[in-house]
């Protein structure tokens, strides 16, 4: 049990002259869940990609099972038993689930695939992780969470010695998380080593054995998780303390309704949804996988064409399927999918922040100076880690990209903000900063709808929580001290009868 499975030491890596990993190290034993912890941009994903062969290290040593590895391709690493679930999705939307799972290890002779056996084999892993979807379903038809589950199934479908999970729970809900943990524990029992990356502190203690903390591409410390606590870890990774208090919102203006959503129907995904949002309120939207929260948000701002229903912002009706109209009237949406919907990855931060704010930054022509000033301002304000304000968005770590998404919408100065999974993939330190931003917003008279699968943060931040289940509102709860996670989960799972 105590034997060392993987040892990475002295790892260095830089991108375009910027040192990202500086003498990084990690040591994983067989049969342990080793948590890798660090702020956004600390270099966790990069370290993992070097391990998997997706990137090549500049120097350092990788010893797997006593064998020193050099310049291995992803294929070779898979053959050596290293299986990785990356932070960003790596699935082919156009082919069925089973083909995604079996890609690279198809069953068959002479290069000819036996589809029947492949389906059966894939079904085995779907059963194992408890995803009840026909393996012949196209991946493109799945929800984000379901895709994540497919990724997990794919990762454990190889002959795995070392499993790496880079933020596997970022886009799934409690139910799937529990299932995942069960699988992880089973793998552990088989002597498989697991590297686990997550920003959800509570999870780490539940599932992890040891923990390696990184900061700024450097190794900080490795500790036993049962001999430490959240505060210590936080301090190690952030360099300061972070609090976990429930936010007492005293800025709500009770009688001023800013947003009125009436009877929204969208295809067969949303079924007659109505609610109201008050000035200064933070309204949580909770629910399980595929409950339809993202669709609801997109229907409200006009990204999707609703089949039925109306939305009034301060008494003015929002035009159907006209995002610009919604933004002009003062409601903005911060996408959960920063890669595909949030940012123009190949453009500098300046362009990204300017994009929704052209009217503001343009008199006759675009004021590029002002764009730069504003960008720098937000880099400071949100502590965005970036080499320069002209750096391309894709060169930032996931969490820092999320901050850029927030920055571009903060500058637009809206009345209502819809945050869709705003802290997905965000470290504790930055999380707190985002919460503070939200508090600032309501303090200044804005209102917020917060879609989140993280029950802790929903409870921490929201005044009111609406629970969705399969496109219906199943509960509208005041977030009092008495409200427990189990209660929310109950409405999300079993519905408990429709209200209103």
């Amino acid at each position: 049990m105590e034997e060392i499975l993987l040892e990475m030491s002295g790892i260095n890596k830089s991108f375009f002259g910027v040192q990202v990993l500086n003498n990084a190290q990690i040591q994983v034993r067989s049969g342990e869940v080793h948590v890798l912890l660090g702020e956004n941009g600390a270099g966790k994903s990069t370290l993992i990609k070097i391990l998997s062969g997706a990137y090549q290290k500049e120097s350092g040593k990788i010893i797997l099972d006593g064998e020193e590895l050099n310049a291995c391709s992803p294929k070779q690493m898979i053959e050596k038993g290293v299986s990785v679930i990356y932070q960003e999705f790596n699935l082919n939307p156009y082919v069925p689930i089973y083909e995604n799972i079996m890609l690279g290890k198809e069953i068959g002779k002479y290069g000819i695939i036996n589809h029947k056996s492949s389906i059966q084999e894939a079904q085995k892993y779907l059963d194992l992780i408890g995803l009840e979807v026909d393996p012949r379903t196209l991946v493109g038809e799945l929800s984000v969470a379901q895709k994540q589950m497919v990724e997990i199934a794919k990762a454990i479908s190889t002959d795995v010695k070392l499993l790496v999970l880079d933020e596997p729970t970022a886009s799934i809900t409690e139910k799937e998380t529990l299932k995942l943990f069960e699988i992880v524990r089973n793998l552990k029992k088989k002597g498989i080593g697991i590297i686990y990356i997550s920003h959800r502190m509570s999870e780490l203690f539940e599932i992890g054995d040891r923990c390696t903390v990184m900061r700024d591409g450097q190794y900080v410390k490795t500790l036993d998780l049962d001999k430490t606590n959240v505060d210590e870890l936080t301090k190690l990774m952030v360099g300061r303390e972070v609090s976990f208090e429930r936010f007492k919102n005293s800025y709500i203006v009770e009688d001023e309704v800013v947003l009125e959503v009436n009877n929204i129907v969208y295809k067969n995904v949303l079924k007659d949804i109505s609610f109201k949002l008050k000035k200064g309120e933070i309204l949580g939207l909770a629910g399980l996988v595929g409950a339809g929260r993202t669709e609801l948000a997109k229907c409200i701002i006009g990204a999707y064409k609703k089949s039925n229903g109306t939305v009034y912002l301060k008494g003015k009706k929002l035009k159907d399927k006209d995002i610009k109209d919604s933004i002009d009237k003062g409601i903005v949406y911060l996408s959960e999918d920063r890669k595909d919907e949030g940012l123009v990855q190949i453009h500098p931060l300046t362009d990204n922040i300017a994009l929704p704010n052209h009217e503001k930054l343009c008199k006759f022509v675009l004021n590029n100076k002002k764009v730069c000033t504003v960008t720098k301002e937000y880099i400071n304000k949100l502590k965005i880690k970036s080499s320069s304000h002209m750096a391309e968005a894709k060169s930032l770590s996931g969490g820092n990209q999320q901050k850029v998404v927030i920055a571009k919408w903060l500058y637009s100065n809206a009345d209502i903000y819809i945050f869709d999974e705003p802290t997905r993939g965000i470290d504790v330190g930055a999380r707190d900063e985002i919460y503070n931003i939200m508090v600032d917003l309501v303090k200044n008279g804005a209102s917020i709808i917060m879609i989140s699968s993280d029950m802790v943060e929903v409870q921490k931040m929201c005044n009111r929580i609406i629970v969705l289940k399969e496109g219906r509102v199943t509960a509208d709860l005041e977030n009092t001290d008495e409200l427990t996670q189990d209660q929310i989960l109950y409405y999300a799972l079993s519905g408990g009868g429709q209200i209103e």
């Binding site: 998997s52 997706a54 391709s73 992803p74 294929k75 070779q76 690493m77 898979i78 053959e79 990785v84 990356y86 999705f89 790596n90 699935l91 082919n92 939307p93 156009y94 082919v95 083909e99 995604n100 890609l103 690279g104 198809e106 068959g108 290069g111 000819i112 695939i113 589809h115 794919k154 064409k305 399927k321």
Partner: protein, 321 residues
């Protein structure tokens, strides 16, 4: 019964729309021709249409593969021209027909391999590489004979395609056999599925241990090989090689692929339907010529059909908006 429903399910709606479209065009031409006192739907004319579409159809197989990976190949037409001249010269120099075919395929494969290498390992966009190789290959072809055609071949050459089995010219069998082969490969083999995987998400395929570069390169090699086969068919059909032969075939092939429903972004669609696409184009040309429609109007009509075919194909996407 249940089996049949399952089978029907497998033929997706897109394909069915395509087949209906093809049949409608066939029926329309048959009726219009009848009214004008001409025959369209006769065995011999159907054979003509297939034979006339055969070269494009075969070339388009390779184009399908490349497009499925998300690439594009503009050089296929120039390879058709090259193989005609090069193969023609070999034959004139007394090389036997089978050996000529082998050499042509081998040389084209090497050309395709180089093209593919620059695209996949060189990271140069396929459009550019093949725009360049198109010109290079055409130039080399003309250098070979100082721009002159090659003619005067033994009868064996034209027999290669004209030979009839049960009254059906063998060229038609070639086309169907090649299509059967590629459909099998795409559906049933690892190589085929990986082509889809690369077109769908190259990064994911790479991280799954697929040698993306290698497979991508091979599709360009295959495109060159299918073009070479097309070139040999054309050479045999005409018993005459012109250095300009095959000009513009790349666009006809792409049109056939796209009408057949394979999207230019790759990862989606069926190579089998490319044959239907090629036949639709062939039917249009044939029907319009039988009706003696002036060539200007022919180009206009074919242009409209290309756009319409894809426009209808995208109805679902527009609705999803």
């Amino acid at each position: 019964m249940n089996n049949m429903i399952n089978r029907l399910k497998k033929i997706d709606i897109k394909s069915i729309t395509l087949y209906i479209g093809a049949v409608l065009i066939l029926v329309a031409f048959t009726i219009i021709c009848k009214i004008n006192g001409k025959d369209f739907l006769t065995t011999s004319n159907i054979q003509n249409i297939i034979a006339q579409s055969s070269v494009i159809a075969v070339v388009a197989i390779g184009t399908s593969l490349v497009i499925l990976t998300g690439g594009i190949d503009l050089s296929v037409g120039s390879i058709v021209g090259f193989v005609g001249i090069f193969g023609g010269m070999l034959i004139k120099n007394g090389i036997s027909l089978p050996l000529t075919i082998l050499i042509c395929i081998a040389v084209s494969a090497i050309i395709g391999l180089m093209t593919g290498y620059i695209v996949s390992y060189g990271k140069v966009p396929a459009f550019i590489v093949t725009l360049g190789t198109m010109q290079i290959i055409r130039g080399v072809t003309k250098v070979l004979t100082s721009g002159k055609p090659v003619a005067g071949f033994p009868d064996a050459l034209s027999e290669l395609t004209a030979f009839e089995i049960f009254g059906i010219p063998i060229i038609i069998f070639y086309v169907f056999v090649l299509y059967a082969l590629i459909m099998f490969t795409l559906k049933k083999t690892k190589f085929g599925r990986r082509i889809y995987a690369i077109g769908g998400n190259a990064n994911a395929a790479k991280l799954s241990g697929i040698k993306v570069n290698k497979i991508e390169m091979l599709t360009y090699m295959l495109a060159a090989i299918f073009s070479a086969l097309g070139g040999i068919l054309l050479l045999s059909r005409l018993s005459y090689a012109d250095p300009n032969a095959g000009s513009g075939y790349e666009m006809d092939a792409i049109a056939a692929v796209v009408i057949g429903g394979i999207g230019l972004s790759g990862g989606k669609g069926k190579a089998g339907n490319t044959l239907v696409g090629a036949l639709i184009l062939g039917m249009l040309k044939c029907g319009l010529q039988i009706l003696n429609v002036p060539v200007y109007y022919q180009t206009i009509i074919i242009g409209v059909v290309i756009i319409l075919a894809v426009y209808m194909d995208k109805a679902k996407e527009r609705k999803a908006e």
